[in-house]
Every structure is written in structure tokens, then in C-alpha cells.
Symmetry: C2
Subunit: 359 residues, 2 copies
């Protein structure tokens, strides 16, 4: 249903208080919105750029009710927010965009794969693994190797175990938490790209150019635009992503990670119902950033232009990488973004750089 665009001065609520919430808050402020963030962390990255922080757990009914009453529209910055939390917000009268249906798909790798296949997207072959016995059978079918991934709560390489010849199913299942999982075949691919797309309340869809993503230790390291893929592949990625957005009547920014293989084509790896780390370069290189596009969409505004005016390389600053700031700032073409986190723990995303160059 199309509602009138929210006027400036309205309040955007963001569930989650990390760097994505921080950058969404900055984009919302630029457009004249007030921002309330919600999450249990006491000194989170997003608080600096928000008007208010409701510091409470995702199960705290009173706090959720207060949040629901205060905001004109609510959104979330990560897909592992409990579906029941979103249900409560809706019960308390909040408009939540995107809705909770997409969370149910994205929070479970098995449901996600089934959803993608239903829409005709290719995925890596996988087995449903509920027990060590299931894993034993699956491994035999996959010639002894694959990646065991927990169905729920996995991100940045967490909840994953790589299995090779001779590995014991019992041990592996336990190492992965002893919880329902899937065993995914190792797929060979030429590169990983991500298609970041958005859909407005009027049903209009827009796409950023897909970056080529490189990983290090299971965490995104760099995103390069333009990616070294053909126009044909790029158009297919758009087409497949649009089919997802339309199937679930999605409002906001959504990202699909694809593996591209010249032999097999595009395989969908994962859906993120949100702005994405591989899209941070859109702040420096596009007319409207992914953060602005998401805020525009959930506020019922027409989308801005996703056109790219520069080439870009985004590099994550993980853990101690951030200590290199004094060298990074010497390159005048590098834009630095830091998330205001105090402790540079191993594997923690502390900031990123975007190096731009003319088209």
C-alpha cells in the first residue's frame, strides 16, 4: 500500500546500533529526519548520530512499545533481529519496513536456499543436515568435502566448518555447535559480486553497479567497482535480484551475493535484507548512497539516482588495521570512514576507506 511520503522532521527508528545504523542515521539526518536507535549496547557506534538511543534488549516489551510509539517508521540494520521483536513492534503500532517476512527467509540458510530455488535462482548444491548421521550421508554424496554452515545466526564466517577427506562427521557436527545446519558443496567460481538493489513504495526498483568482492579470513576485505564482468552478467544479476524484491513486495535496500563462474553462470549465495558492507563506496561514488536510498524508500520518498560518478575501491579496516590511520590519511584520494568504536578487537570492523578515481 502506498502511503504519503513522511515529511522532514518525522522520526526514523533503527533497530540495531552498529556502523550500518550509524551510516543510516547520518543519511536520515541529512534529509531532515530525526533518528531513534534501539539496541542493548551501552555506547554503540550509531548513538553519536542519533537524537535518542533506547538502550534495551530485543525482548524488552516496555522499551519496544515506547520505541514503536515514538517512531514514524522503523527499520533494522541487521537480519538477525528476532522475528518476534518485529512482530511486537507491529503489534504496538509501528510500521516496519522492510517487513518481517523477509527476516524469516534470511535468518535460516535452509529457507533461504529453498526460497532462491523456488524463484529459479541457481545456488550451490547443499544437503539439509539435522544430525551427524545426516552429515555422514551428505559427505558421501559430496565426495567427502564441503562447508558445514549453521542454519541460523551465521555471519562473517562464523558458524562455519570446512570439511575435507577423512574428517569425522561427529566431530564436525559438534564443532559447528551441534545445531541444524546445511552442508554446502565447495563451488568453483571466478569471482564474487554483490547486487545491491532497492525498491520504493511505488514499486520502482533501482540498482547500484555490482562490486567485485574479495575476502580475507572469511570477512569482506575489498569491493571494487566496476567489477570485471560483462554487461550481460550484470544485467542478469539485476534481473534475478529484481525478482526477489518483487516476490516479497520488498521496501528498502536489499543485497544479493552472487558467485560468478564462466562455466556455470551466476549462483546466489546469500540475501541480506539491508544496506551492505560491499556498498559503502556508494557514499563517495554515487549520486545517492545506499544509506540515503534505504531511508528514502522506507520513508515513502521516491528513490534517488543510483548512478555512479566515480570508480571506487572500498577496503575494510578490521581490528588493528585501523591503527594505520595516520598513513591512510596521507593519500588525498582516500576517504576514511571510522565507526567510533573504542576497542580494536580482532576481526572487528572498525572503519573503511574508499579510494575513488575518475570514470
Amino acid at each position: 500500500m502506498k502511503t504519503p511520503p513522511l515529511p522532514p522532521g518525522s522520526t526514523i527508528g533503527i533497530m540495531g546500533t552498529g556502523q550500518l545504523g550509524r551510516m543510516l542515521a547520518a543519511a536520515a539526518a541529512k534529509l531532515g529526519f530525526k533518528v531513534i536507535i534501539y539496541g542493548p549496547d551501552k555506547t554503540p557506534p550509531a548513538a553519536q548520530l542519533a537524537n535518542e538511543h533506547i538502550c534495551a534488549s530485543y525482548e524488552a516489551r516496555d522499551a519496544l512499545e515506547l520505541f514503536a510509539q515514538k517512531v514514524d517508521v522503523a527499520t533494522y540494520e541487521f537480519e538477525n533481529i528476532p522475528v518476534s521483536t518485529v512482530g511486537l513492534l507491529i503489534k504496538y503500532g509501528a510500521s516496519v519496513r522492510p517487513g518481517h517476512e523477509v527476516l524469516e527467509v534470511c535468518q535460516d540458510r535452509l529457507f533461504e536456499k529453498q526460497f532462491l530455488q523456488k524463484l529459479g535462482l541457481m545456488t550451490a548444491p547443499y544437503w539439509d543436515v539435522k544430525s551427524p548421521h545426516d552429515l555422514e550421508i551428505a559427505l558421501k554424496d559430496m565426495e567427502g568435502s564441503g562447508i558445514l554452515k549453521t542454519r541460523r545466526m551465521g555471519y562473517d564466517g562464523k558458524g562455519q566448518v570446512r570439511l575435507g577427506q577423512g574428517d569425522d562427521p561427529q566431530t564436525a557436527f559438534k564443532a559447528c555447535g551441534g545445531v541444524p545446519a546445511i552442508l554446502e558443496e565447495f563451488v568453483e567460481f571466478d569471482c564474487e559480486i554483490s547486487q545491491i538493489a532497492m525498491r520504493g513504495q511505488g514499486g520502482e526498483v533501482s540498482f547500484f553497479d555490482p562490486p567485485h568482492n574479495l575476502h580475507k579470513d572469511g570477512i569482506l576485505h575489498q569491493s571494487h567497482v566496476p567489477a570485471n564482468i560483462s554487461l550481460e552478467v550484470s544485467e542478469e544479476a539485476r534481473h534475478l535480484t529484481a525478482s526477489i524484491l518483487e516476490e516479497i513486495d520488498y521496501i528498502g535496500v536489499l543485497t544479493v551475493e552472487f558467485f560468478w563462474s564462466s562455466r556455470k553462470g551466476l549462483m546466489a549465495n546469500e540475501i541480506a535484507p539491508r544496506v551492505h558492507n560491499s556498498g559503502h563506496w556508494t557514499v563517495e561514488a554515487c549520486v545517492s548512497s545506499q544509506f540515503e536510498q534505504h531511508i528514502r524508500a522506507i520513508a515513502g520518498w521516491p528513490l534517488g539516482s543510483s548512478a555512479r560518478h566515480s570508480n571506487a575501491v572500498m577496503t575494510n579496516l578490521i581490528g588493528e588495521d585501523v591503527k594505520g590511520w595516520s598513513d591512510l590519511i596521507k593519500n588525498p584520494h582516500i576517504a576514511l570512514t571510522l565507526y567510533g568504536k573504542e576497542e580494536a578487537r580482532q576481526g572487528r570492523k572498525m572503519g573503511h576507506t574508499v579510494e575513488t578515481s575518475p570514470l
Copy 2:
């Protein structure tokens, strides 16, 4: 003296809490700095994007001392902050960049003209007017016409009276507040441009492309880049502005408004020791914006690149203009920036748009 660059996590203090402070705070946050704003307004535009707001007058010694203790470097968003306030901050141990010397020049139109002339810059002819009698003599010399401007506290056309044939000096002097003023000759010019430049602690200087500025009712209406001026004129504007920056060992962003006349050349109209309304397009069209450059400079960081990747037209939203937001957002190439002000009073700057196009 060159000091080491301030590390991320340090605190930037901003005197003044309006839209320029708001955009400076956003730029500082992106670079990982904390921000404390200082000013008497209770719900100012900059508060949304700052970690803390010290709400006090510019004469409140206790509050100034607290501010000085909390910040690692202080700056100001407007040139009419009392020089004595900056003096107190320095007394209480704060580093203030740019310093107070430039304020003494910029707060007084007579000193400003004398300063410009001393450096060899051309200005409009003017008379020092201390009394109605001075004005009478000056008017005779200027063939009966000119603009009477108060020496202090004038901006956006305030504190100005236009005088033509037959106007009474006594009445005009009173209309202008009965305070020390200058009478400036009406100068004919082809266009007004502004040169926004910055200087880092290492003495390096960088320049944005000068926009061509159009006014309405004495307030900036639009800034267009590129301006329709020759490379030669552009280079002269840079050269003249650099001479100002170097003369006063300036740190940060500084703006010089010039009148350009094909007959007379470049005449300096005004110096603003700060980021400038005519530079707002640098957010959407340059690698580093004027706000980021100012923060980098005062934090002792090397300057970023001032290179422009897009053409741009910035349009101010004054007073009720802002009510047109729902039409403005329909153009996907228009970036909207609103300042979070509740009341759209006449003549009040409420926001601006930047329409970009490829180079």
C-alpha cells in the same frame, strides 16, 4: 607550529550550533572524531549530530572553561563570535583554529578593507563613516549614491542601507543603527564568485573550483560550478586567496567573495574565515567536502583532494521554500540537505539542494 595529527576518537569543539556546525559535526563524525558544540540556542541544528551540546552564552566563563577542558581542538562556524570569547578559550588551554587574529579583521568591514588593500587586493572604493557628517561628505564624493554598511555584525544583507540621489544622510545613518559604518561605492560587475580555499598545518594550500553566486533579496540564492570565468581569472582568485591564507598563517577553510568585472578585474568583497554557504555543493561534487577539509586542517591532518567529479548547482531553501520538499524529492539528481529547523521563518536558511551532472 606543526603538531602531530589528532588521533581518531579525539574531541572537536565547535563554537556555534547552526547548519554550518551541523555539517562540520557530520564530517568530524565520519572521520571518527567526537564532537562537542557550544552555543546558547536550546534546540540547535548541530545538536542532532554532536555527542554533546554545552548550552551557554558566549560570555559564560565557567561553561567556556569546561568546553576548553573537554576539547582537543576548537573551531568556530561563524565569524561574529566575540574575540574575547576566543581569548578566554585560549586562556583556559584550548587550541583554537583558525585563531582569533583573523576574527578581528573579519568582524570589522573597515579593518577588512584595509587588510585586503595592504595585501594588494582591489576592493570597491569606500569611505570611513563615523557620523552623519562623514556620510554627507562621502556621498558628495560618490555622486550621491552608495551602500552604507555597518562596520560590525552585518551578514545576509543585514546592517545595510542603499542610498541614491536625494537621500538624507542623517536619516540613512540612523536607519543603519547610528553606528560606525562604511559607505561603499556601487560597483558594476559581471558576476560574483567565491574562492573557497584551505590551508593545513604543514602550510599546504588547496582550492575548490570557484562557484558563480546569484543572490535574491540580499541572501545567497544559487551557486553554480563551474563558473563561467576564464582559467586566468580562476588562477588569479587562487593566487589572491593564497596570499591571505599565508599572510595570517591560517589553518582551516577560508572563503573570499570576489566581484569579477571584465573592465576592472577581480575585486575582493568579503572574507569569511570559515566554511561557506557557496561551498555546500562540495559535499556532493568533490572528493573531500569543505567540511571534511576544515576538520582535517584543524586536526592537523593532511588535506584531502579538492578535485571535483561532477558539475553542480546549489540552491538555498529560504523560509517557506522548504515547503516545496515533496516536489524537490521527485528529481532523482537533486540531493536534499535539511538543517532540522522547526520554524520556517522568513529569510531563514532551512536547507539546500544540490543538483549534480556529469563533468
